[in-house]
Amino acid sequence: MAAMATAANIGAVNNIYAKLSTEWDKKPPNLDECGRLLNALKVKLTQCPMNFLATNSENDKRNVILARGVLEIGAQWAIETKDADAFERYMAQLKPYYLDYSFDDLEESTYKHQLLGLNLLRLLAQNKLADFHTELELLSTEDIQKNVYIRHPVQIEQYLMEGSYNKVFTARGNIPARSYGFFMEILLKTIRDEIARCIEKAYEKISFHEARRMLFFNQDAVESYKEYVKQRKWVCNAQDDMIHFQREEKVEEVVPAKDLVEQAISYARELEMIV
């Protein structure tokens, strides 16, 4: 009885999956339709979890591949609809399929490295460096050095650490897959703030147009650039067309009496405890 029910479920899942893949393969895919199908599939997958998780029989391997395929399409759909949270959730579900289930004959998914690389890029864009490094540990060194999907985020991280932001900007042109573009946009916004802060501290004055170039605003984006300048409260001197930055004056150092007293008392206490 239970077997029949699960068999019926599997049949239903297969049907919906077939519909989803045809829908997804259409160019351009109808995103709403895909979204609806994905939600239906998610529910169905949880209803018969035994068949879609790790066991060893032949039948179940097909089911596992099916489940993985669903999640992969889901992750890519989340990118298309620009939903970073949904992407995060799909990746969390997908990771066991890539990393933990050590099926010897389960062939590698074609999207594996691409999605893993996308995940790394997402962590970078959200400035979660510690998570980035832990994720990186889980991949083999060969993947990191050879695989183009993964090498891209690793290089971006290196450029960010060094501070050569112009390399990041040019790397925007060399993304290995179209889906990387979404996170690159977010990343560029983040580094724009970084560069602005660097400019404030490093330069005494800089010309209006030079600053625009450094912040990666194009020729035709002058309006958005002016918005940005206003947002950061930079004052532009109209005569020589330069932006001047305030230099913080050194405040007269007051003797920090309270701190000194606390420290001295703690030393005295410790020393008294020495027998």
């Binding site: 050569s164 660097c198 490093a202």
Partner: protein, 505 residues
């Protein structure tokens, strides 16, 4: 005599000197055969274990366990076979336990005549093996022997049997032995590359140990689990385990050293370099002073890497220590490359020693050092030049273009690495003049840090002091005897004084 902590073998094979001679005098048998010596030693230990069980004092057990490393080298098939024959009663009751263990040993080469010295003592020996501790101890010896002989499949099944014996028992005196057994069980699986199967078991034992407040078991199981996770690079899970569990305060120093080392490694991957450095230094301090060389070398390698990542350059004396000099050679070159800020050298070191770094697990950390090299380079340039063109900067640092140099210097200024300002129109960097550092609060904070550190060490060493056991007093003379002795001394002193007066005219 104050008791030292139980001698635990560390990650690699090390020598541990037998610091404690057995108390009772040796029996008078002829000592030509090394096997006979080993048999005698093992019998001493079995007596210790028996005493430990009867008096419920852990130090006898720790004494027996401490010598385990030394004993390991002297085990061979003959010794073990004789032991098993002696201590398991030859009656039908013992036959069941005797056979599985004997199966693991080889057939004896010949019938030794010297076996006459060790007669099977059926009465007393039979009573001894009723104590499960003896049984487990002998089983453990067999397992260690199999591991050393690299008979891996045998070792696996032997360890499984051992676990089956330990798991149902609830004896507190078994705790220290059990901790050792977990270690070797996990080690057997590690050598055969099947560590992930052990995890579930280790977790369930950890639960049991924590509930029973079995501190040694808890400590060694936590360490084994961390080692397991780190072996598979699962730093996330290791971090969660650390945050959710407490390491028992009363664990032995060796377990503490291991725990701090694993903690340091986890924190280093998670970019928390100052914490990682502190943990690794403490791990090295808690390690035994003259032995465990392998452990200290590995910990030192990680400590150097983390220190470089923090931006400090480790002292040259660190590399000069006699037992570290050779293994630390690649790290020495790495330090030099970072110190001079030379990207080319850094790239060369990475290429030459990349394989070695990878096998030691420090490669991912070292790759992150590239940024440090550039930072040091920028700092040196800023110190030496009051004004320099950006194009020259990019040339010196081997960067790709002056634009790169501009961004990098701007970031360095923002991070506080250098004090300078960039003039974009004319394309140069100008350093600010140095302020007198003694006029700021810097010296006070530096001193404060050092003072706290010293006081910390002082407090820790006071806590770590141990006082002699009560038995020490037994050997001392009691008060009466002392009074007697003093009186006698007074009298003899008086006599001598009188003699002197007599002699002098």
């Amino acid at each position: 005599m104050p008791d030292k902590d139980p001698g635990a073998p560390s990650n690699q094979d090390v020598e541990m000197k037998d610091a404690d001679k057995p108390e009772q005098p040796q029996p008078e048998e002829v000592k030509k055969d090394a096997d006979v010596l080993t048999m005698e030693d093992i019998r001493q230990h079995l007596k210790h274990i028996e005493k430990a069980v009867s008096t419920k004092e852990p130090r006898f057990m720790s004494r027996a366990l401490r010598v385990l490393v030394n004993l390991r080298k002297r085990l061979n098939s003959n010794v073990l076979r004789k032991l098993l024959l002696v201590y398991y009663p030859t009656g039908s009751g013992g036959a069941a336990t005797k056979n599985p263990l004997l199966d693991f040993l080889e057939e004896p080469m010949e019938v030794d005549k010297s076996a006459g010295g060790v007669r099977p003592r059926t009465g007393k020996a039979a009573a001894l093996t009723q104590i499960p501790e003896i049984d487990i101890y002998l089983h453990l010896l067999v397992l260690i022997y199999l591991l050393d002989q690299k008979k891996l499949t045998d070792a696996l099944s032997c360890s499984k049997q051992l676990m089956d014996k330990i798991t149902p028992s609830n004896r507190r005196t078994l705790d220290m032995l059990a901790a050792k057994c977990y270690f070797y069980y996990s080690r057997a699986y590690e050598i055969t590359d099947q560590l992930d199967q052990v995890r579930g078991f280790l977790h369930s034992r950890l639960r049991t140990c924590t509930l029973k407040s079995d501190y040694e078991g808890q400590a060694s199981l936590l360490n084994l689990l961390l080692r397991n996770y780190l072996h598979y690079n699962l730093y996330d899970q290791a971090d969660k385990l650390v945050s959710k569990s407490t390491f028992p305060e009363s664990a032995s120093n060796n377990e503490w050293a291991r725990y701090l080392y694993y903690l340091g490694r986890i924190k280093a991957i998670l970019l928390d370099y100052s914490e990682a450095h502190r943990h690794l230094l403490q791990a090295m301090r808690k390690a035994p002073q003259h032995t465990a060389v392998g452990f200290k070398q590995t910990a030192q390698k990680f400590a150097i890497t983390v220190e470089l990542l923090l931006g400090d350059i480790p002292d040259k004396s660190v590399f000069r220590q006699p037992m570290m000099r050779k293994t630390l050679q690649p790290y020495f070159q790495l330090t030099q490359a970072v110190r001079t800020g030379n990207l080319k050298n850094f790239g060369e070191v990475l290429e030459n020693y990349g394989g070695k770094f990878q096998s030691e697990g420090t490669y991912t950390l070292i790759v992150r050092l590239r940024h440090n090299v550039i930072k040091t380079g920028v700092r040196m340039i800023s110190l030496s030049y009051s004004r320099i063109f950006l194009a020259d900067v990019s040339q010196k640092l081997l960067l790709d273009s002056p634009e790169d140099a501009e961004y990098i210097v701007a970031k360095a200024i923002r991070d506080g690495v250098i004090e300078a300002s960039i003039d974009h129109e004319k394309g140069f960097v100008q350093s600010k003049e140095n302020t007198d550092i003694y006029a700021t609060r810097e010296p006070m904070t530096a001193f404060h840090q050092r003072i706290n550190f010293c006081l910390d060490i002082h407090n820790q060493s006071v806590k770590a002091m141990r006082f002699p056991q009560k038995s020490y007093n037994r050997d001392l003379e009691s008060a009466e005897k002392r009074r007697e002795r003093e009186q006698q001394e007074l009298e003899s002193a008086k006599e001598i004084a009188e003699e002197d007066f007599d002699d002098f005219p």
